[in-house]
């Protein structure tokens, strides 16, 4: 009897293209366990499947008495430069615009329990992360996710990351229109698109339904799209080059109005410009914001317009528009009014966690998740709750919560009571006790301070005193980041905290920089002011001092942002001065440990971050894929499948040729005719592919095989013909390596033709 496997058990439930990708990932892991795969390429391959590194995965950890080796059983085997193969890592699950079905929540809860630590973590970009996962377990995880419609492809690495959108899209009172189908169309269009494979860094996209509310946060994204109606026509204001990080940058307007039919091609053009001209060598300057700074927004607009003008038409740009105006989700219960008679705790919860939809009788219920975490058990219970009350309408939010849409007012009390039985009926969503945090030193390789530890402490304290807080203080937001990469989005919080380290008396002390007055509204309109650092253990006191001063000294109806601006940095520094210096180690050693970690604080465990990915030119992935196809061809030949073997050998030549053509900057489709035509034009006829000794001999192997017939034709090949074409394919792939080496990582690009006039495509001034 053959052994059961997820692959055979799930069978056709896994869509074929995803199944093939996952099979390839499985093969790559096996290859990595042998001598056959470079650490760098494997790392980027892994990252592009959402399989991330975690703290201590370099095999070293400070146990409080000094750094000690972690002796994993795999020995020297690596899964990336300085990344031990056996070390636990993180699986990021990409959730486009945060939308989760009940079935998906069930499956992710199963995976968390079987392969992780029984926790699902909601991130600030609407992803779900599972921690402490072994790389070999990711294959089955991916299969089980694929069977419920989730791919982890391009969840990390130098690629288009999760496309985020406002969690209220489609049910919101202030939106111009529902951005969900546009976010979905752009997600599907760019996923795996050849034009987004050769970035120097990651690329983040966000959608918002309006300008006024904060939910989409478009202003700090690489590409942000805000819904706009112009004379009744749908379109988007597009902004580019925003980002947080060490120095936050507000995105600049690329187009005031991009008509809906131009959203995908203009986005594609932006990606092509970024891939072509973005920095590749220096990671610190490789995000698109630096390219825009270098070129200037005017020139960048011209570059995008030129690129757009030369794109070949793609039906996907507009196909989705035909199905746009139907309902995205349907309620499963009749709408109704909120009951007047309900427990006082329900009313307290409803004030902050229940928001009326534009559709009469329905509400969005926001579940305040402590530190963005739920257990597997809570996940299963929530999936049942969705099935009973709201249907497949759950959305993860950028504040690390879950929003359940389409809750009938008539069901709200019963829904809340059910939440209460699973520990999730806490009030205060998007208020001061709903503290957001990145993973920090808990699991992140780059974490400097324990942002989660701090957030947990603040949340605990503020939840207890919430009822006593002044009404002006309750709506303030607190966000913490463990390092300058700002994943906790502290720049746009009222009270933001950024992990830093300070030397005191020859010892390291965890601190947080206090960043005040960031603006969350208007899509995170402006960034906070850095006031100075306080010891980690004094941050709760800093929150008390600042909020007390705000209550005491604010002018009538003055916002926190206006207050901080008015009193200025000097006044805040004066306020915090008594708590900025930690006591000596002898007086109080607790200051020399971080929140939730009794070890003496050190930054010796900092690793090399994988946020930046490995800068592996896309061409190398193509050649690697060609080699795998060639190996498969040989395997087929060895078992007597000569026709299939010959066909696969031809495919391997096409894959290698396509990679090289694309490397030269030419748009090339997957069809063999297109590949061969462009290969002939740009590599054969130019002599670029020619071997110094053999001349154009290797190139002719592809040209001859293609001229003889397509891949279908070659399935009729006999053993001798198959043997010959496999040999020729091997030489061709070798020649591709050599040609790539001659051309180099940064080829001389063919300049794009002069732009054609295209009013629709031209970015606004």
């Amino acid at each position: 009897m053959s052994e059961r496997s997820w692959k055979s058990t799930l069978g056709e439930a896994i869509p074929a293209p995803l199944g093939e990708e996952i099979d390839a990932w499985e093969a790559q892991i096996e290859l990595k366990k042998g001598p056959g795969m470079d650490d760098r390429i494997f790392a980027e391959t892994r990252l592009r499947r959402g399989v991330y590194g975690q703290r201590y995965d370099n095999g070293l950890r400070d146990d409080g008495t000094g750094q000690k080796p972690l002796e994993f059983p795999c020995g020297d085997l690596k899964k990336g430069p300085d990344t031990v193969f056996d070390a636990p890592g993180m699986q990021r699950i990409k959730i486009p615009y945060g939308r989760i079905t009940a079935e998906q929540l069930d499956v992710m809860s199963d995976l968390a329990e079987e392969y992780s630590d029984r926790i699902l973590h909601v991130t600030t970009r609407q992803d779900i992360q599972l921690h402490f996962v072994h790389v070999e377990d990711t294959v089955d995880m991916h299969r089980r996710l694929a069977a419920c419609g989730i791919t982890t492809r391009e969840a990390c690495g130098n690629s288009v990351r999760n496309v985020t959108a406002c969690q209220f899209a489609g049910v919101c009172n202030t939106e111009s229109f529902d951005v969900t189908p546009y976010a979905d169309a752009l997600t599907q269009f760019l996923l795996g698109h050849p034009d987004v494979q050769d970035f120097g860094r990651k690329f983040k996209i966000a959608f918002s339904g309006c300008h006024g509310e904060p939910c989409g946060l478009v202003t700090f994204h690489d590409l942000g799209a805000t819904a706009v109606l112009k004379d009744g026509k749908r379109g988007f204001q597009l902004v580019v080059g925003g980002g947080l990080g060490a120095v936050p940058v507000e995105a600049k307007i690329l187009m005031d109005f991009c008509p809906e039919e131009e959203l995908l091609p203009v986005s594609q053009a932006v990606c092509r410009v970024f891939a072509r001209l973005g920095e590749k060598q220096s990671r610190a300057r490789a995000r698109i914001k630096f390219l825009i700074q270098k070129e200037g927004i005017e020139r960048f607009r011209e570059l995008v317009a030129e690129e757009r003008a030369q794109l070949r038409d793609d039906p996907r740009w507009t196909d989705f528009l035909d199905t746009l105006h139907g309902p995205i989700e349907n309620p499963i219960r009749d709408g109704g009014a909120l009951p007047e008679a309900a427990p006082p705790r329900f009313h307290e919860w409803a004030k902050t966690n229940l928001r009326p939809q534009v559709q009469e009788g329905y509400f969005v219920a926001t579940l305040t998740l402590p530190l963005g975490d739920i257990s597997s058990e809570q996940g299963w219970l929530l999936a049942d709750l969705a099935r009973k009350y709201t249907g497949d309408s759950i959305r993860a939010t950028v504040e690390q919560n879950l929003a359940f849409r389409w809750l009938s007012g008539a069901d709200a009390v019963a829904f809340w009571e059910a939440l209460d039985t699973m520990g999730l009926a806490q009030a205060g969503a998007s208020t001061i006790n709903d503290v957001t945090s990145c993973p920090g030193t808990d699991t992140c390789k780059l974490g400097i301070s324990a942002s989660r530890g701090l957030a947990g402490e603040l949340r605990k304290h503020l939840t207890v005193i919430r009822d006593q807080l002044d009404p002006a203080v309750k709506p303030l937001r607190i966000k913490a980041s463990g390092c300058f990469n700002s994943c906790g989005q502290h720049h746009v919080a009222d009270l933001g905290f950024l992990g830093v380290s300070r030397n005191v008396g020859g010892r390291k002390v965890p601190h947080f920089n206090v960043v005040l007055g960031g603006q969350w509204t208007e899509n995170a309109k402006s960034y906070g002011m850095v006031v100075g650092a306080v010891p980690s253990k004094n941050v709760p006191q800093a929150v008390e001092l600042i909020t007390a001063k705000f209550v005491a000294d604010r002018q009538e109806d003055e916002s926190f942002q206006a207050f901080i601006k008015r009193i200025g940095k000097g006044e805040v520094r004066k306020l915090l001065a008594p708590i900025t210096k930690p006591p000596s180690y002898e007086e109080d050693p607790s200051y020399y440990s971080d929140w939730g970690d009794p070890r003496e604080y050190t930054i010796g465990d900092l690793g090399i971050g994988e946020c930046a990915g490995e800068v592996v030119p896309f061409v190398e992935f193509g050649i690697q894929a060609a080699e795998q196809q060639l190996d498969q061809a040989q395997d087929l030949h060895d078992v007597g499948e000569h026709g299939k073997a010959a066909s696969q050998a031809l495919r391997s030549m096409l894959t290698a040729a396509q990679a090289l053509v694309r490397h030269l900057g030419h748009e090339v489709r997957d069809e063999a005719d297109d590949i061969v035509t462009l290969f002939r034009e740009h590599l054969h006829d130019t002599g670029l592919f020619h071997d110094p000794f053999a001349g154009g001999k290797f190139a002719t192997y592809l040209l001859k095989a293609h001229a003889a017939g397509d891949e279908e034709f070659w399935t009729g090949a006999d053993a001798e013909a198959a043997h010959r074409v496999i040999d020729e394919a091997r030489l061709f792939v070798e020649a591709t390596h050599a040609a790539y080496a001659r051309i180099g990582e940064t080829p001389q690009l063919t300049p794009p033709p002069a732009p054609k006039a295209s009013a629709a495509a031209a970015p606004a001034e």
């Binding site: 201590y56 008495t65 809860s109 402490f132 975490d373 699973m422 699991t443």
Partner: protein, 190 residues
């Protein structure tokens, strides 16, 4: 589902309940960090400690290892020591279960040195491996003799055992509750 299928299940979890719980679950954080320093769990690489006490009836305090994890678990609203075998172990399910029970008892005995107390009379046993051990009647029928054999290897051939099924028909993993009449103290069994 056959005995052969279920014997391939790799992941098992065993939880023993605290009869004297920690005053504050956070008390376990320095204990587990010390266990890492002292390599307290034999034949296991211990890696890190994580705090999930903010999660309702959640994993509590987690000591992460390479092949096994140890939790001061807050599930069922009853604190206890949960031992989870996740990888890196040869043998069939019975061998894994026997090892898990022994190691869980050992860990409980070690925690008793820090003032906690555990009972060996009730053990929650899960098989979080939905491929080889779905939570259905057939799998449970195949599982009972395996668990019984493992329990007898730990508690003795004459022990009076009751094995009950938990959470039938839900998405929970295959779960059994093992009750042992007049079980000795964990230190005796460890």
């Amino acid at each position: 589902m056959t005995q052969t299928d279920i014997s391939r299940a790799e992941r098992v979890q065993v939880k023993l309940f605290a009869s004297k719980a920690a005053a504050d679950p956070h008390d376990l954080v320095p204990v587990f960090h010390r266990w890492i320093r002292e390599a307290k769990v034999p034949d296991e690489l211990l890696i890190d400690v994580t705090d999930y006490t903010h999660v309702w009836r959640g994993p509590g305090i987690l000591l992460v290892g390479h092949g096994v994890d140890l939790y001061y678990d807050l599930g069922e609203d009853r604190p206890g020591l949960l031992f989870a075998r996740k990888r890196a172990f040869e043998g069939d399910l019975e061998t894994r279960l026997t090892d898990a029970l022994k190691r869980a008892l050992r860990a409980c005995a070690d925690l008793e040195e820090d003032g906690l107390e555990f009972s060996a009379t009730e053990v929650l046993v899960r098989v979080p491996d939905r491929l080889h051990a779905p939570n259905d009647d057939d799998a449970f029928t195949a599982f009972v003799p395996v668990l019984e054999a493992a329990a007898r290897a730990v508690y003795g051939a004459e022990a009076v055992l009751v094995i009950e099924r938990e959470e039938a028909g839900t998405r929970q993993p295959l779960t059994a509750r093992l009750r042992v009449e007049d079980a000795p103290a964990v230190r005796t069994l460890a």
